[in-house]
Amino acid sequence: MISLTLGGVTLAYLIAGLLFLGAGLWAAPRLQRLARALLWSGLAVHTGALLGRWLQSYSLASQHQPPAGFGELVRLVVLQAPLSNFYESLVFFSWCLPALALISFRRRLEGYLGALVATLACLLLAYASLGVDSSIKPLMPALKSNWLLIHVATCFLGYGAFALAFGAALLHLWQTRRTRPELPGRALLDPLIYQATVIGFVFLTLGIITGAVWAESAWGRYWSWDPKETWSLITWLIYATLLHARLVKGWQGRRIAWLAVFGFLAVLFTYFGVSFLLPGLHSYLT
């Protein structure tokens, strides 16, 4: 049921992407509005599917061990948030993209930028549905922590915002050689890159901090140079560089766009590369 719903959402994102593309090509405001409405609806259904999965995961766990009392019930609800394996993290990642874009870019989300966001969300969701084991597995002891929800949610919101910065940076770099009138102007893209980076940086900082506090309570070490931790630090350093270059040195345009691209490559490696190539504490994600 949920996988079918997510299939529908994937399709909605695909069509929204095509509509955005059309709107960009023919500068059609009505198409623009239609695309944005479709993206909103897809996001709403996607939210519903996430909540459905949460409920499903909760009811499986409560069958195994029914909670006694309200406190335990709340704890079980928090623990069963659908963020505990690779599939669930992909579904949430793809949710973050349109959610952040629609909320933080608002009307500036149009044309090619909208197409990029919708397509990326569509691809992530399609990969989750087709390529990844979607079964609900019971939580291992280390994952049973109230920090799980906030740690994973903040990390992926950060990744999502960096993906938006990446999209805007690509459009920026694409028209360095010559201005393309059909694309959003560089004067518009520049603040978008910066804005998305700031949002991502704040979320990633929160994600690293919550992860450290969690590791301290689980293992007694807030930092252990596990590859995922280290790569998130690398990512953080790259974006800190971007922010300093812009805030202190006043860099703009191309160079900032390149930093946003490198930053996102680091994000991708933190998320996929580390899970598949480098073993460590976080390898249960795969």
């Binding site: 002891p141 900082t205 450290a212 309570s217 293992w219 007694g220 300093h244």
Partner: protein, 438 residues
Amino acid sequence: MTSIRLTVFLLLVLALVAIIGTLLPQGEPLDFYLARYGNSAGAFLWRFRLTQIYYGPWFLGPLSLLAANLLACLVHGLPQALSRVSRPFTGEVAAALPERGRFSWPAEVDPHGAVVTAFRQELGRPRRLVFPDQEIYLVECGRFRPLGPYIIHLALLLILVGGVLGKFWGLTGSLALGQGETAQTFVKDPRRPEQALNFQVRLDRFQVRFYPSGVPEEYRSDLTFLQDGREVRRAICRVNDPVSFGGLTFYQSSYGAQPTGPIRFKVCRGEDCHPVEAPWRRRVELPGGQAQIIALRLEGDLQGLGPAVQVAYKRGPGHPQIFWVSQNHPELAGKPGSPFWQPDEYRLTLTDLPFRYYSVLQVKKDPGVWWVYGGFILVLAGLFLAFFRSPQRWALILKKGEDGSWAGRLLGSAPRAREAFGERLTRLKERLKKGAGS
């Protein structure tokens, strides 16, 4: 030392060193590197401390420079930022802001209510200054923004200080305890004598619960702390739920199973069966003397199939074969491809597997943790100030004309958030115009 170019360079160098650290396995013994990278390359990596990269000069060098850089910037810039923050927003300062619009109200209209309403709706409660010839309404937001970066930088220094404190004044070790055992020492470094505790810990009870799939669901240790043989405190230590006592913290980090007596097998060759007793990790001849086994490992619940022993089986000169023997499912021994498959003609079944779980606790003291946590809180506060409190100053100067009409001048600036400022300005002007006659 205060150059931002140095900062950016150091940030990128640190990122690069960290990348090397994740690609090159860290903290392995020398033999590992010699075997993996060859003698000369392995020795090179070892000699130049690339195998302990985060704890050696490659990482700590640039990090110390960065700390010096941060400190220099802090000393250099903080006084300036503080004086900027402490400079009050007065009528004179307001009058020097760039002008953004003019309004006028006819004689019969009192503008004060309209101005206050418009300001409150867009910006927040204004301050009102009354002078003989004019009145000024002032609103300031994000006054403390200039402190944001310095708070972040200070917080990063606190985190580094916390790390150093933990490294030099903290300690970590581990403690393996069987049920009923009492410990007075723990292992700090496997190559050194054990470290004494100035109290005792007793493991009263250890429990593991498994999911039907055999994955552990929860494990916990019921501990009692004793001082001079007297019970002082009882506590339950779970994963994610540590226990502190006597300046140390105990974390439930893992567990293991260990036999409490010899393991007994029934070994058959066709119809010809004999009992065999296998002491833990000792070589045992099988009946007939043609093969030997060693019991290597014990699991309390392997893949949800119950207790099992891992056995190395050797017959003749070849490599030993390794397989598991399940207590509850002897039939798996005939299943090729499973970890229980016994390839040779001998059939081993377990008749007695006495075992108990033992608990592994991580023992730790880290005086730096509170510095680190303090740094975390400050980083968040600083990020909030730096990115979400852009400074804005607004003023509306009202003057009463000869004929009783009012003229207003709107002034304001927001050097760090031009776009948001522009939008606000438009909306504010709309509201003021609605109240004003023109």
